[in-house]
């Protein structure tokens, strides 16, 4: 299957090929949706819905750019619809709209080397956090626990939980500092 199908081609795949497309895009599309939605579960749903609708359109769809670009655009549209319908306000999305950053497909998201390096940096940064701080951060990020629940479980105050998470993100931000700088400068160009 050619990812960069040319203008006149109808896009079609069999189920085996589609499995590859699905698995190659799902995580990236989820992360992309999460930029707008900031909720992993809803982002997963949007990524999955977009891929499902691509599958349903196989054989009838003519794509002028590439499947990847098409999927990113579809995810973005679905996110904007979700934000509109749920009346969610998100300063980050506002910022992107104000600065006309929405039409870009994030180049860094499609570069596997960049991704690997980023993952490694994040792993190292989180692993060097103080133990309690790391634990609180992981509970908040990966177990969907409310600060109040974390406080109760660990028998510490809610303020302490909030401080731990702030410190964790602040440290992470600093160790990723130059990377994010690059991203911002890239998309600002």
């Amino acid at each position: 299957m050619d990812d960069n199908t040319s203008a006149t081609n109808i896009w079609n795949v069999d189920s085996k090929e589609f499995e590859v497309v699905f698995k190659a895009h799902f995580v990236k599309l989820t992360l992309y949706a999460n930029k707008f939605i900031n909720d992993i579960d809803i982002s997963k749903e949007i990524a999955s819905d977009s891929l499902t609708s691509l599958w349903e359109k196989r054989g009838t769809l003519s794509i002028t750019t590439s499947i990847t670009a098409y999927l990113y655009k579809m995810v973005q549209n679905k996110c904007m619809n979700h934000i509109k319908h749920q009346r969610i306000e998100n300063e980050y999305v506002d910022y992107m709209i104000r600065n006309k950053l929405l039409d870009e497909i994030p180049g860094h998201d499609t570069n596997p080397y960049y991704e690997k390096e980023l993952a490694e940096q994040i792993r190292q940064a989180i692993d060097t956090l103080p133990e309690k701080c790391k634990l609180v951060f992981e509970m908040s990020r990966f177990e969907y626990l409310k600060n109040k629940e974390i406080a109760e479980r660990l028998n510490i105050s809610q303020n302490t939980v909030e401080r731990h998470i702030t410190i964790a993100l602040e440290k992470l931000r600093k160790s990723l500092g130059y990377t994010i700088g690059i991203i911002l400068s890239l998309i600002m160009q």
Binding site: F26, L31, L51, E115, A119, T166, L176
Partner: protein, 363 residues
């Protein structure tokens, strides 16, 4: 920037702020470039921290879910790893009927009428990977490397039965219909639970470990009785059955019931649970396991072939745990450092032997 502003912005980004705090956060973000920049970076950082556990976004699970919905929506177009028996000859149908009769040795199978759409889904997990699935009823299953799991496409309507050759961890969704796992020799009947079944047809053992609830195991447990027996296994217990390790026996299906040497139900302490379920989180725990067993686990986990230079080594016992080790050599190096064993890797084949310095000492 004040610490209190940082905490407030962080709470807003991590979605822990209440309405009043959200309004305040928005206000301060708009109040200066410094605050805005801080917010954008914290937001990006929060998003990117997902990379710490990128497996958190599970495309295997999402794909299973997609398959489930796509099949449900479009049964006529079941080209998605389905075997549509209509397209097969009568002979093939009979053949598969026979296979089914063996796998689903229960009334479930008999309920099928010829001519109805008889399809099943087979999920084959190759060596080297673990797959997470969601069955049509919402039951979550982790399937270990080198395993096969099958179920009928009307799964969930009148029965919830799967066939398993290999190892799987089940988190059963609540439902009125009992959940049944069929393996070559035994049937596991669930009563609302979380449990792990290890039944590879090339292993000399069968294991079922219960994390929550209770299961019932049915099958012949000794030669003195012709009837199947039932054993209940409760929370934090493991049922283990070992066959004689006769080198001539290649396949479990060749084993006679007289070869059963040990049947036991053992109570586990919380710290022992990981030995059974660790594999679902890429953790391998060996607590005094024999090399014979360990080799099988490593071969499946890393898709390699292990040869023991000295067959006596298979009785060698080893304890240790390996977390998130993706490279078999890393695991082998750790073993080498903590034992008097050495290894040699040649492509997919690994030879394990006594290390030379010990040989010199005459051991």
């Amino acid at each position: 920037m004040k610490e209190i502003d940082k905490v407030l912005i962080t709470k807003y980004v991590t979605r822990q702020a209440n309405e009043e705090e959200i309004a305040m956060a928005k206000h301060i973000i708009g109040s200066s470039k410094v605050h805005e920049e801080f917010y954008l970076q914290i937001y990006e950082t929060w998003q990117r921290s997902i990379y710490y556990k990128i497996g958190f976004i599970d495309s295997e699970e999402a794909y299973s879910e997609f398959l489930r919905k796509a099949i449900h929506k479009n049964p006529g177009n079941g080209s998605l790893s389905l075997i549509n028996l209509r397209n097969l000859s009568i002979a093939a149908i009979l053949l598969i009927f026979c296979a089914f009769a063996i796998y689903f040795n229960s009334s479930v199978f008999l309920n099928y009428k010829q001519g109805s759409e008889l399809t099943f889904t087979e999920i084959k997990v190759p060596k080297g990977i673990v797959r997470k699935l969601v069955l049509p009823d919402g039951t979550k299953v982790s399937v270990n490397a080198g395993s096969i799991i099958k179920y009928n496409n009307d799964f969930g309507k009148t029965s919830r039965a799967v066939y398993l050759n290999g190892e799987a961890y089940f988190d059963i969704a609540k439902g009125d219909v009992p959940f049944i796992v069929n393996t070559d020799n035994y049937t596991i009947r669930d009563i609302g639970t979380v449990f792990n079944v290890k039944a590879y047809s090339d292993d000399l053992s069968f294991e079922t470990m219960v994390i929550e609830g209770e299961v019932q195991i049915e099958g012949k447990l000794n030669i003195d009785s012709d009837n199947a027996q039932k054993v209940s296994v409760k929370k934090q217990q493991v049922f283990k059955l070992n066959y004689a390790s006769d080198d001539k026996v290649e396949n479990l299906s060749d084993i006679q019931l007289s070869d059963i040497v040990e049947v036991k139900v053992q109570k586990l302490s919380p710290s022992q649970l990981e030995e059974y379920t660790g594999w679902t989180e890429d953790l391998l725990v060996f607590d005094g396991k024999s090399f014979q067993e360990i080799i099988k686990i490593i071969e499946r986990r890393y898709d390699v072939e292990i040869v023991l230079e000295d067959t006596n080594l298979k009785n060698y016992e080893y304890s240790g745990s390996f977390r998130n080790i993706n490279d078999v050599e890393k695991a082998l190096k750790i073993m080498k450092e903590t034992t008097d064993l050495d290894y040699e890797k040649n492509g997919r084949v690994i030879t394990i032997r006594h290390s030379d310095n010990l040989k010199d000492k005459g051991l």
